[in-house]
């Protein structure tokens, strides 16, 4: 007895030692992966992505710009690092990256492996803005955003640049790896509708009809929209004012205040949105940086109507759910600040939170898939950011551009991530049974993954296994789906036991009738006490 106890102790000690050893030997991301459960509590989860590598200017091969032999040569003194890059863009057709290297006033063109294949310092052609006398180019000044597409009209590779300090949006045809030709320049619209004094475009998106949408600094009436011919056609998809107590109070004061007092009050204006993206179907997705419950993330249809509108009864949530959270490792108070959104070719939505450096990935129905990336005090580890400015997706990889560390971090999906993605792909297509195998793999790796249980429950429901579905939905605590499954279960139960139920009801009715009759005759099966006790 004593011996066996000793053995058990030794065994458990060995197990504990083995466990601690494996923990210390494991190279991990500099953050703990987490996810949200049905109660919106953060719970630990598996990593859906891991950092593959980080790419700096040197690894991109930017020293080619200083090599006189090289076709990309600029000058001996050209800067060979990125500097404060604000945006980048993935050209899905050619698998190329375009980086707006803002403070170096240039656009870089990289191939799939993030190696430089082109650089653009300005556009040639008929322009009077910021013309360089030696090269004759109209140089970029602090390009904040860009968009690249093959023009559906001419078939040319067309580059759009939000040229911030030059107060213009450039539309140019890419001629070679160093040159592009100006097609059109969109400048401040000289119209009464455009009231802002300045025109500093920060982000840009172009739709199938070559309408240009530009987010312009300090314009809060939506993005500025230009038609293909360059004419200003109006504003698109403005945010609304978030209804807070202060706004309501001011509305009340306004009704009783004098005109002079009203003039002195601050105006309630909506927050301008920070960034946007367009998907294959022409829907425009916007994110707003300021922490706000209305319109933090929107999906706009071509009419500018928000499809993800929570005020019509939906429950879409984005970013961290717990609001302002004190982070003890950085000694800061987090307020979610969603800075970029990208819709991958696989339909997944990636949203970058500038404040925490986290990327939140959602499926097309806004179910949270995974959260990765971080920001900590030193941010010198891979996977940790300093100024995460933009996020892009290509294939199964996610790329994050850091304007502080001046590099691009490449995330690849883990095994867990690939199972989740393939499961979600089936799930979103409504092929619940096909997703079953993947969900089971997901559960093997992360038993807390709520969506897996919902997915399995849906599959069981499809297959008519109602009691199994009920169990899955109960595990996931998905009341709405449970309700559906319960309705079917009840129906099935009633159908199967119909005769028994009818028989029981008939027997009860007959029993009561018989009782009534014998009571009338004065016979009692159970003796009554109180009535006789007068």
């Amino acid at each position: 007895m004593k011996n066996s106890l000793k053995k058990l102790l030794a065994l458990s000690m060995a197990a504990v030692t083995a466990m601690t050893m494996s923990v210390t030997a494991f190279a991990d991301e500099p953050y703990n992966s987490y996810n949200y459960d049905t109660w919106e509590d953060a719970i630990p989860s598996q990593s859906g992505y891991r950092v593959e590598r980080t790419v700096t200017g040197e690894e991109m091969g930017l020293d080619r710009l200083t090599d006189p032999e090289d076709p990309l040569f600029v000058s001996e003194t050209a800067v060979t690092t990125l500097d404060g890059a604000m945006d980048f863009f993935v050209d899905d057709e050619r698998n190329e990256f375009w980086v707006a290297d803002s403070e170096n006033n240039r656009i870089l063109r990289l191939n799939e492996d993030l190696e430089i294949i082109g650089r653009y310092y300005g556009v040639s052609g008929d322009s009077e803005i910021n013309v360089d006398e030696t090269t004759g180019l109209s140089n970029f000044m602090n390009p904040y955003g860009l968009y690249v597409t093959t023009s559906p009209f001419t078939g040319d590779l067309t580059l759009y640049v939000a040229d911030y300090d030059n107060s213009r949006v450039v539309k140019a045809k890419v001629v070679s790896e160093t040159e592009c030709e100006l097609i059109h320049e969109y400048t401040r619209p000289e119209e009464a509708l455009y009231t802002s004094q300045t025109f500093n475009p920060t982000k840009i998106v172009v739709d199938q009809a070559e309408n240009v949408y530009a987010v312009v600094q300090s314009v809060n009436t939506g993005s500025v929209q230009f038609a293909r011919d360059g004419s200003f056609t109006g504003f698109y998809g403005a945010n609304r004012v978030e209804v807070t107590a202060a706004v309501i109070a001011q509305r009340l004061w306004r009704t009783i205040a004098s005109n002079e007092q009203i003039a002195g009050m601050t105006r309630n204006v909506p927050v301008e949105y920070a960034n946007f993206d367009i998907d294959e179907d022409g829907f425009i997705y916007t994110v707003t940086e300021v922490s706000t419950s209305t319109d933090a993330v929107k999906k706009l249809n071509p009419a500018g109507y928000n499809i993800w509108d929570n005020e019509v009864g939906n429950e879409y949530t984005f970013g961290d759910l717990s609001g302002n959270v004190w982070d003890s490792t950085t000694n800061t108070l987090h307020a979610t600040r969603l800075t970029d959104i990208v819709i991958g070719n696989n339909g997944l939505i990636n949203i970058l939170d500038y404040e925490t450096g986290r990327v939140f990935q959602y499926d097309r129905n806004c179910n949270l898939i995974c959260i990765f990336g971080t920001k900590n005090s030193t941010s010198d580890q891979r996977g940790s950011f300093s100024n995460p400015n933009a996020v892009e997706a290509l294939g199964n990889n996610i790329y994050v551009l850091d304007g502080g560390k001046n590099d691009i971090t490449v995330f690849t999906e883990t095994t867990f991530g690939s199972y989740v993605h393939s499961a979600f792909e089936y799930y979103d297509e409504g092929r619940y049974s096909d997703a079953k195998a993947d969900w089971e793999e997901v559960i093997k790796r992360d038993g807390n993954y709520t969506m897996a249980y919902i997915g399995l429950g849906r599959a069981a429901l499809n297959d008519g296994e109602y009691s199994e579905a009920l169990e899955y939905f109960e595990t996931a605590y998905d009341q709405d789906n449970y309700d559906k499954a319960f309705e079917y279960t009840r129906e099935e139960f009633l159908r199967e036991n119909f005769t028994i139920i009818i028989v029981i009801i008939l027997v009860l009715i007959i029993w009561f009738i018989v009782l009534k009759i014998i009571h009338k005759k004065g016979i009692y099966l159970i003796k009554k006490k109180a009535k006789e006790g007068k």
Binding site: W39, Y477, Q479, Y482, D483, E487, A530, G533
Partner: protein, 209 residues
Amino acid sequence: MYEFTTMGWLKHVIFHPVEGFEDLRWKKQGSMKVALVIVFLLFVYMVADRQLTGFQFNDAYVKVFNVVPLIVQSVVYFFTWVIANWALCTLFDGEGTLKKICVYSAYALVPFIVCGFIGVLMSNVLVQEESIWLTAINWLGIGWSVVLMIQAMRAAHQYSFGKTIVSMIFTVVAMLLILFLAILLLSLFQQVYVFGYSIYTEIAYRIRG
């Protein structure tokens, strides 16, 4: 004329909201034991509502189950009601004794508890689309109990209708006051305890040197 068993009186009172409590008072009926059982059942109902309501209707946070708030919401609230009502109404010519108020109030709660239990049972066979039935049965219980409670207080104190309503509203205010003072007292004693404990640790450290 009225000769019932204890349970018979309970039934009579519930189904005769207009004169039931007057009869109860006239015949000097009403059992404290039954009243206490009813209060206990109120607590059981609170627990059942949280734990046994059908999954599709149960919005309780299932990760933690703490029985203390449920005790407070049932037993403590009930006795606070009784004490507050007694304290108030003895000052305003109420004829009710503490025992009478306790028994009558408990009797008046029966429809609420019964309908609540029926609701819990029904929630296990209904789906969300049919939730109107649950709402209906719960409101039926609440409405019935409120009517009974007004009649109970009227009979206990021999008030007019208007005075009963006013006294009940002020009873709620008095309840809040009592609970406020209780919490104040509790936190005060907590601080005294913490103070004493820190002195003890301080001394313990000094002695150990």
